[in-house]
Symmetry: D2
Subunit: 207 residues, 4 copies
């Protein structure tokens, strides 16, 4: 950073850091509690039936999608990330998974529209079940964004009413979705009777 930086070291107690880690962990537990099992079950069935899976998202949601795609590959799925070099054309028997907290990310909305025109199944992971993406989806899985306990948690710390959002923009959605995806992998491992060793065999030898 530039001008406003302190040049001498200071001891930092990291209280906000630890508070935020716990807030996020609590949020994840809440997301797990309120998960719509029926839609998640549909999602898993779509994945198991899919010939090929395509994952897409913008910004940090896109990175979370890539993390999921990598594990699907480890599990033996034929999976592609939209925007990477060797991703082929989507066909009507493919499953497309879109990740967008707001459900309104313009590039992902426009890609979702193309996927529906082609006739592929569209699964949307979003905080906003009333969004453009959710409305065009075959299956929508809602992952809560902002934590319910957001204001209270901070009020405790910022007694004088000075309030600051410590998980800016899509942070809680993105992190919760990453954990949701990794837990979906766990469910798939059991359903497909795959072990960690099965996954390790497909792990890039170059990393």
């Amino acid at each position: 950073m530039t001008t406003s930086h302190m040049t001498t070291s200071q001891k930092i107690d990291c209280k906000n850091l630890i508070l935020t880690m716990n807030l996020i962990a609590d949020h994840v537990k809440e997301v797990a509690r309120e998960l719509d099992i029926e839609n998640v079950s549909k999602t898993i069935n779509e994945l198991l039936k899919a010939k090929r899976v395509f994952v897409m998202g913008a910004g940090r949601s896109g990175l979370v999608g890539k993390s999921f795609a990598m594990r699907l590959m480890h599990l033996g799925f034929t999976v592609f990330v939209v925007g990477e070099s060797t991703t082929p054309a989507v066909r009507d028997d493919d499953v497309v998974i879109a990740v967008s907290g707001s459900g309104e990310t313009p590039s992902i909305v426009s890609l979702g529209r193309i996927a529906k025109e082609i006739g592929s199944a569209l699964i949307v992971i979003t905080s906003n079940t009333d969004s453009t993406l959710a409305r065009m989806a075959d299956v929508t899985v809602r992952i809560r964004g902002r934590a319910k306990n957001h204001i209270e948690g901070y009020l405790e710390r910022h007694m004088k009413g000075e309030y600051r959002t410590l998980t800016p923009m899509g942070t809680t959605f993105e992190v919760s979705t990453m954990i949701f995806f990794d837990s979906l992998i766990a469910e798939l491992m059991v359903l497909l009777d795959a072990t960690e060793d099965d996954l390790r065999k497909r792990h890039s030898v170059f990393d």
Copy 2:
């Protein structure tokens, strides 16, 4: 997927999925509890003093590093991801952050060595404080990988002793590191007196 897939839908109870979400959330709380505040404080001081920050990691650790780099940019830092197109040469007054669960990822070890030769500060985020990367680091932050309660949690579910790792390979490290980084952003927001609106102004208009 290919041959072994079921072609008819089945109702899936998602118990393994929800179990895993809770295991990961508990793991994150444990990571928060055992965090070495002194090294995290040093990390923050290095970031605040840095002219430029470089982030690197392979595979899913690399994606988590990118998520962090994006938020540092939102906060106003001059930050680059090693391997992206416009990342310049590292200099001795730069800070390099390496993410590697094992601390032995060959490509990252070799990049870490180059960073030390140049004289830049090297911060290593790893599960393994006894690794090659940790040994060459100026500051090491340990993020526990495998959860302590891993075996117990699964034994409950897989009564007959049939044990399966539901968070394969680096999963818990990667997810915990993502949350650690996002919580580091929270701490930096307070230290730099930055609001969510300050971050939003730098958020890509194209996503």
Copy 3:
């Protein structure tokens, strides 16, 4: 590849390969001959005045854009690739360069529209000066796609009238644009009095 592959080796004379290399080289010379110097001059002036440069393109055009962005960084420009992790919000005093052979790539058209709304300068590199992107551009540089001599060249080889396009889809546009960009770098080196050594100093130490 799969079924149709020959399993025994055969001696291949590479005549189509060498023909295509020469066709592309001739095409590049033709592109150089018909270059609109006035618009290229405007492009260079925009780059020299820009506080920051943003480059964007989809698919292979995007890769060519990244190659150019990397060299601009070597020359000392502050330059970002749209879609990479640490690319900030575009502002009105930035220059955005869009690469699209057809000038109709949906994602790039929609990003171009956003750039114009913000008020940044939009430079479009395209084969199609009558396209949506060209019409919204401040400066358009035309790089011819399909070669004039395409049909003749192949007729010679495929005597019996059997014609095949050996530079499929955007190939000639993409390759010509890469060479145009590298030659623009040469012009900038002279204008800024930069030597190869100046560029080398900024070259990633990690490659």
Copy 4:
């Protein structure tokens, strides 16, 4: 750019730009003339026999590799770029193509070594047939880097002996390799009897 920039527009004649385009085109023709047909023929045979193809390179060489991988996918090959999200583990019946002008890029040398340990075929595209990568390759294709006529061409323009390299670092290698790869695609199209339409069907619908 920053301080040294002119703030008023100037008319630029683009002579260096046009000179460089022609120099590069001439260089490509020379590369075509001196191509070692036997090694290119071996390369094509390896590709046709391969179950899967992996492409790797750092920096601009990596971007050129991605361009090639994309076209191989359009042609129906099963192809991956090392470092992208869904790239699986390399096996002994895979073909790995490494792109490195110097043949000494540390990360690519180390990946090449891993590929050889696994037993996959290693094809190296390089300017330097005496390099570490070339020595471990099963097949090496040499693409000349610096142009023979480099000095003469510039002497003409820079009469007073003031010489400047207008194609800095790997520029001519990278551009020539891109054209070589695209021409290899042309050869494969003829061998596999594939038309432009066949390729278009696999082109990403999202670009």
